[in-house]
Symmetry: C4
Amino acid sequence: MSKAADSILKHLKVRRQKQRAILKMRCQCAKGGLEFEQLDTFYRAIRPYLCVAQLFGIMPVSNILSRDPQDVKFKVRSIGLGVTGIFLILGGLKTLMGANLLFNAGLNAKNMVGLVFLIVGIVNWLNFVGFARSWSQIMLPWSSLDILMLFPPYKRCKRSLRSRVNIVVLTVFCFAIGDHILYYASGYISYSMHIRQCQTNHSRITFGHYLEKEFSDIMVLLPCNMFSICYGFWLNGSFTVLWNFMDIFIVITSIGLSQRFQQFADRVLALEGRHVPDALWYDIRRDHIRLCELTSLVDDSMSSIVFVSCANNVYVICNQALAIFTKLRHPINYVYFWYSLIFLLARTGLVFMTGSRIHDASLLPLRSLYMVPNGDWTQEVQRFASQLTSEFVGLSGYRLYYLTRKSLFGILATLVTYELMLLQLDAKSHKDLRCA
Amino acid sequence: MSKAADSILKHLKVRRQKQRAILKMRCQCAKGGLEFEQLDTFYRAIRPYLCVAQLFGIMPVSNILSRDPQDVKFKVRSIGLGVTGIFLILGGLKTLMGANLLFNAGLNAKNMVGLVFLIVGIVNWLNFVGFARSWSQIMLPWSSLDILMLFPPYKRCKRSLRSRVNIVVLTVFCFAIGDHILYYASGYISYSMHIRQCQTNHSRITFGHYLEKEFSDIMVLLPCNMFSICYGFWLNGSFTVLWNFMDIFIVITSIGLSQRFQQFADRVLALEGRHVPDALWYDIRRDHIRLCELTSLVDDSMSSIVFVSCANNVYVICNQALAIFTKLRHPINYVYFWYSLIFLLARTGLVFMTGSRIHDASLLPLRSLYMVPNGDWTQEVQRFASQLTSEFVGLSGYRLYYLTRKSLFGILATLVTYELMLLQLDAKSHKDLRCA
Amino acid sequence: MSKAADSILKHLKVRRQKQRAILKMRCQCAKGGLEFEQLDTFYRAIRPYLCVAQLFGIMPVSNILSRDPQDVKFKVRSIGLGVTGIFLILGGLKTLMGANLLFNAGLNAKNMVGLVFLIVGIVNWLNFVGFARSWSQIMLPWSSLDILMLFPPYKRCKRSLRSRVNIVVLTVFCFAIGDHILYYASGYISYSMHIRQCQTNHSRITFGHYLEKEFSDIMVLLPCNMFSICYGFWLNGSFTVLWNFMDIFIVITSIGLSQRFQQFADRVLALEGRHVPDALWYDIRRDHIRLCELTSLVDDSMSSIVFVSCANNVYVICNQALAIFTKLRHPINYVYFWYSLIFLLARTGLVFMTGSRIHDASLLPLRSLYMVPNGDWTQEVQRFASQLTSEFVGLSGYRLYYLTRKSLFGILATLVTYELMLLQLDAKSHKDLRCA
Amino acid sequence: MSKAADSILKHLKVRRQKQRAILKMRCQCAKGGLEFEQLDTFYRAIRPYLCVAQLFGIMPVSNILSRDPQDVKFKVRSIGLGVTGIFLILGGLKTLMGANLLFNAGLNAKNMVGLVFLIVGIVNWLNFVGFARSWSQIMLPWSSLDILMLFPPYKRCKRSLRSRVNIVVLTVFCFAIGDHILYYASGYISYSMHIRQCQTNHSRITFGHYLEKEFSDIMVLLPCNMFSICYGFWLNGSFTVLWNFMDIFIVITSIGLSQRFQQFADRVLALEGRHVPDALWYDIRRDHIRLCELTSLVDDSMSSIVFVSCANNVYVICNQALAIFTKLRHPINYVYFWYSLIFLLARTGLVFMTGSRIHDASLLPLRSLYMVPNGDWTQEVQRFASQLTSEFVGLSGYRLYYLTRKSLFGILATLVTYELMLLQLDAKSHKDLRCA
C-alpha cells in the first residue's frame, strides 16, 4: 500500500502545484481589481458594510476601499483608528458622566440598564479594534479558500453570498431604524403627556425641550443649541449602530462560513454513486481540514465579540421581561416595548440560528458517506467519516458555549422559567392586593 | 474485493428491480382500493382520524375518503381548505374580541391563559395547513416503505398498527370528553353557587343563563338564542378538539414510525446465529437509511406542530401548578382541577414516551450486532453498527429539543423545582399570616 | 479467516458445553443446599434481608427460607402475599384517614409531607409486589452468572459480597433506628413542653398521652389501650422500615452487580502483557454481554423502585431544607432535624454512589485494552473495546435519569440553588423586619 | 503481522531499557542535588510554595528543603504535622467559639458566612494532610515523567514551568494581600464612623479598639494586649492564606500537567509530514498513557481539595451577590466589596480556565493525526486517535463535575439566573416602596 500512497502523494503534489499556480494567477488578476471583484467572495460581500462601519469607528482597518483583501490591514497610524479614538473618547465621556449621575442617585436594577448599554458599547469598540488587528490573518486564507471554492469542482450556489448577506443585513437594519425611531417617539410622547398633566406651562411641550431632557448628560458640558442636539443624536445613534452591527457581523460571518460548508457538502453529494479514487477523497479531506481550520481561526478572533453580544442580548431581554406585567401609560409605550422586545428576540434567535448552520452544514457530507458502496469504502473514506464527527465546528463565546440550537433552547428555557416565576409573583401580588 | 463488491451490486440491482416491480404491481392493485385497503399501512390507520379532523378544519387535504394515498393531495381550491378558512375567520374573530376585552381590563398572568389558548389554536390551524401542503411528499415514501415492510423478510407485528392507534386515540378522546364535560359542569356549579349567595333572584340559575355568561364574547355580536348557544358550544369544542388532536397526531405518527423500526430490529434479530452475506447486510443497511430518511422528512414537516404542542402543554401545566395551593370553593372545582391537571400531564408524558420510542427502537439492532460471530464481522456490518449510533433519529421541535425521555425528565425537573419554589412561598405566606 | 472462525466457534461450543455441564452439576449439588450455600452468591447475601422484609410485607415471594434460588417464586396464594395484603389494607386505611383529616383542614405545603410519606409507602408495597413477580426471572440468570464467576478464571474478591452487604445494611439500619427513636423523643419533648407552658394540669405529661395524640388517627377507630398503642408503633415502624428498605435494596443490588463487573475487569487486567487468542477474547466478550443483559434485566424490573425512591428522597430533602432557617423551640428538635437531614442526604448519596459504581466498573477493562500490544489487537478486541463504550450500563428510573455521579451532582446543584434562594429570601425578610 | 509486531516489541524493549538506564543515571546525579536542581521539573516549581505553606501548617510533608523529591515523604512524627496540629487546635477553638456565639444569637443566612469560612478552613487543613499522605506516590512518577520530557525527543517550552508558576502565584498573592488589607481598612472605617455617629466619647476611635472588637472571640480567653492582637492577626491571616493557597495549588498543578500535555502535542506535531514507524507511534502512545495515568492519579488525590475549593468559592460568590443592591455606608465599603467580589470571580475563573487547559491540551494531537498520510495510517495510529477521544483527562471534584469551560459556564449561568431573580425582587420592592 505504501507504493500506492506514494503515487497518490505525488499526484496530489502535482495537483496542488497546479492549484497554487491558478491561485497565484487569479490573485494577480485580482490585483488589478478587475476579475477579483466579480468573484462572489466573502470579502466582496462584507466590504460595503465595513465601509459604513468605519464611519462609526467600528473595525478600524485601513485601505478598506481597495478591492484586494491583501491591501486591507490594521495600521496604528490610520484615519480609521483615529475615528475610533474619537468615538472612544466621546463615548467614554458620556459613560463616565452617566455613571457619575447613577452612583449619586444610587445604583439599582432599573437604572443600571442604560449604563450597561454604554459600557457594552465601549467594550465593543475595543473588541472590534482587537478583531481588526487579526483581520489580515483571517482574510487572506479566507479569500484564497473563497477563490478555490468558486471554481469547479465546486459548484456556485444559486443565490450569491453577496445577495444573501444584503437581504439579511438590510432587513435587520430596517427594523433597527424602526426601533430607534420608536424609541424617540415613545420618549417624546411620555414626556409631553407628563408635562401636560403636571404643569400649566404647556409651552415646554416641543420636541426640542424633550431632546434637551433626553440629552441632559451632554447639555451639562455643552450649551443647548442645534449643534449639541445633533451631537446627542449622533452619539446615541452610534451606540445603537454598534449594538446592531455586533450581531449583524456575527450573522454575516456565519453565513459566509456556512455557505462554504454547504458547497463542500454539495460536492461530496455529487460524488454519490460514482467510483471515487482515494486520491480524490484525500483531496476532499484536505479541503475539509482547511475549512475547519479557517472556522477555528475565525472563532478564536471573534470569541470576544460573540461572548459580549450574547451576554448583552440575554441581559437586555431578561430586563425587558421584567417589565412585561407593569402597566404602561400610553399606547405608544406598549408599541415600543413589544416592538423592541420582539426585535431583540428575533435578532438573538437569528444570531444563534445562522451560527448553528455552520455546524449543521459541516455534518451534511456524513449522509452521503453512508451511501458509498462497500467496494469504495477505503481507509481514506473511513478517516473522513470519523473526522467529520470528531470535532465541533462553529463559533463560540470563548468556548464556554457554542452558537447552536441547543444553546438557544437553553436560553429560551431559562427565559421561560424566569418568566414563569414572574407570572407566579405577579399572580401572588394580585391576590395580596385583593386580600388587603 | 472490488470484484466481489461489483457482483454484490449487480445482485442488489437485480433484487431492487424485482422489488420495484412488486411494488408497482401492488400499487396498481391498490389503485383498485381492494388489496391495498387490507394492508396494515400507516395511511389506513390514520385515515379515519383525518376524516374526523376535516370536520373541524384540521389538515385540509382533498380526497381524504380515497383509499389510495396517491390521491390525497393538498389543493388550494378544496372544500377542506374552505372549512379551515371558516374556522380561521370565526376563531380569529373570537380571539380578537377576547384580546380586546383583556387589554381593556389589563393583561395579567391569570387572565392571559384563555387568550393564549385561543392564539395557540389559530397558530395550530395554520401549522396543520402547512403540514397538509407537505402531506403528499411524506405519504408516498411512507406508504411504499409500509408496503415493503408488510411482506417477508419482514414479519408482521402481533398487534396491527391500526388497532394500536385506535386504542390510544380512543382512550385519549374518552378522557378528553370527560375533561370537556367537567369544564362546563365546574363552571355551571360555580356560577349557580355564586348567584345563590349574592342575589335574591334565583330565577337566573339555569344552564342557559350560565351559557349566556360563558359565551358572552359571542353574545356581543349575536342575539342570545338556541342557535348562538350551539354556535358557542361548537366553536369552543373545536378549539378543544384541535388542542387534543395536536398531541394525538404526534402520538400516532410516533407509533407509526417506531413500529417500523421495531420490525426492522426484529428482522436483524432473526439473523442472529446465521451466516449473513455482505449483500444482505447492504440491503438491510439501505432499508435503515430509508427509514431514517423518512423520519427526518417527517421531522422537518412536523417540527412546528411538535414545538407548539410541547410549549403549550408546558405553559398550561405550569399555569395550573400555580393554583395548586389556592383554596377552591366547591368539590366539583377540585375534581375538575385535578382531573384536568393529571390528564394534561399524562397526555404530555404520552407524547414524549411514544416519541422517545422511535429513537429507542432505532438502537435495538445494535445488540444483535454484538452477537455476530467474528468470521462474519465484515466492513459492511461495521459500517452498519457505526451508522446506527452516529445520528439521532426521532421527532424534534425545530431540533431545539428532541422527544426523548431525557427531555421529559428535564421538563419534570423544571416543574418540580418550580413547584418547590411555590411550596416555599406558600409556607412563607402561611408563616406571615400567623405572625400578623 | 472464515476457517479460523469456524474452529474457534467449535472450540467455544465444546467449552460452553463443558461449562454447562459443570453448572448443571453444581446446581444439582446446590439442590441439596449443601455446597451452594457456601458459595458467595448474591442470593446468599440478600436472603436474610428478604426474610426480615417478609415480616413487613415487603417482597412477598414464597419459599424464601430455601437455600436454592430456584425454589423462590412469586405465588398468588402464599403467606407472604397475605401479609402484604394486611399491610396494604391497614396502611391504606391509615392513609385514607390521614387524607380525610388533611382535606378538611386544607391542604398546604407543610402538612402534605405526612400524607406523601404514607402514599409513597403504599406505592412502594405495590412496587415490591411487582418486583417479586419478576424475581424468579431475575434470580435464575443472576445465580448462574454468580456461580460462573466464583470459579476460575475469575478470582474471588478479597471481601466476600455477603460481608460487604452486611456492613452497609447494618450501618444504615443503626442510623435508621437512631432516626426513629429521635423522632419519638423530639415529638414527646415538644409535646410535654407545650403542655407545661399552656396548661395547668400537668398530669397529662406522660408518654402514653403523647402517643395518644401522635396516633390520633388510629384512636378514632380503636379504643385507647396498650394494644392500640403497640399497633400504632408497629404500623408507623413498618412504613419507616419500608422507606429505608427501598433505598437499602437498591444499594444491595448495586453492590451485587458492581462486584461482578469489578471481577470481570480484574480478569481482563490479569491478561495484560500476555498473548490472548481470539477465542478467549470472544469468551470474555460473551461474559460481558451476559453481565450487561443481566443489568438491563434488573434495571427494567427495578425502575419503578428506583424512580419512587429518588423522587421521594429529593422531595423530603427539599422539604426539610425549607425549615433550615426556622427557629425551633428545643435543643432536641435541632438534634432531630439535623440528624434526619444529614441521614437522608447520606442515604441518597449512598444510593447514587453505589449505583454509579456499576457504570464505573463496567468501563474499567478499557484501560487494560489500551495496553494490548499491536500484534494482538485483532478485530475481536476492537469490537470488545467499542462494545464497552457504546452503551450505558447501570440502574435508572425509567431511563428518565441514571444513577450516576452526574445525576447526583445535578440534584446537589438544584438543592444548592434552591437553598440559595431561601438564603436570599431569609436575608430579605430579616431586612424587612429591621425596616419595620 | 505477528512477526513485525514481535520485532517492534523487541526494539521497544531495548529502547525502554536504554531510557531506564538514562533515567536511573539522571536520578543518581539528582541525588547529589546538583544536576536535578537545574531541571525544570514540577517539583522545583512548587517547592518554594510548599516551604511557605509549611509555615501555615499546610501540606505537612517532611524534608521539604531537600532537592530530591524522593526524600520528601509524609511522616506522622514530623515538625510539619506538629505545626498543622497546632493550627488545627487553635483554629478549631476559634471555630467552636464562633459557632457558640452564632447559635446563641440564632443562625441566619447573613452571619453564617463567617462560620462557614472557618469550617472550610479546618476541612482544608485536614484535606491537605490527606493529600500529603499520597504526596510521595504522586511525586515519584511525576518527577520521572518530568525528567523524561525534559530531554529530546521532547522540546523544552519557551517559558520554563518555574517562571510560569511564579508569575501566576505572585500575581494572585499580590491581589490577595490587597484584599486582606482592604478588609481591615473597610472594617476599621466602618467602626470609626459608627462610633463617631453614636457615641460622644471619641477616644475609642483607635485601630487598637477596632481590633479588640474584631478579635472579640479571642479576647474572651486571652487578655487584651499586643501579643493577643498579633495572635489574632496571625490566625486570621492563616485562614486567608489557606483559602487562597487552596485555589493556587489547583492552579499550579493544572499548569504543571497541561504543560506536559502541551509538550506532548508539540512532539506529535513535529512528526507531521514525516514517515513515522509503528514502533515510534507505540512509544508515543505509551507516553500518552503514562500522562493520562499520572493525571488520574493526581485527580484521585486532589478531588477533595477541588471539591471544597469550588463549592466554597461558589457559595461565597453567591453570598456576595446577595449584597449587590444593598446600600453600603462608606466609599471604602464599596471599594472593598467590589474588589473582593471581582478578585473572587477572577480566582474562580482562573482555577477553571487552567484546569480546562489540561483537557484542551490533551486533545491537541488529534489535529496532527488528521494530517497523517494514508500510507502511514496504521492500526497503531488509529488506536492512538481513538484513545485520545475516549476518556476525559483532567481534574474533577469527586468526578461529580470536571474543571472545564463548560462547568464554568454552568456556574456563570446559575449565577446570572440567581442575580436576575435578585434584580427582579429588587425592582419589585422598589415599586412596592413607591406604592406605599
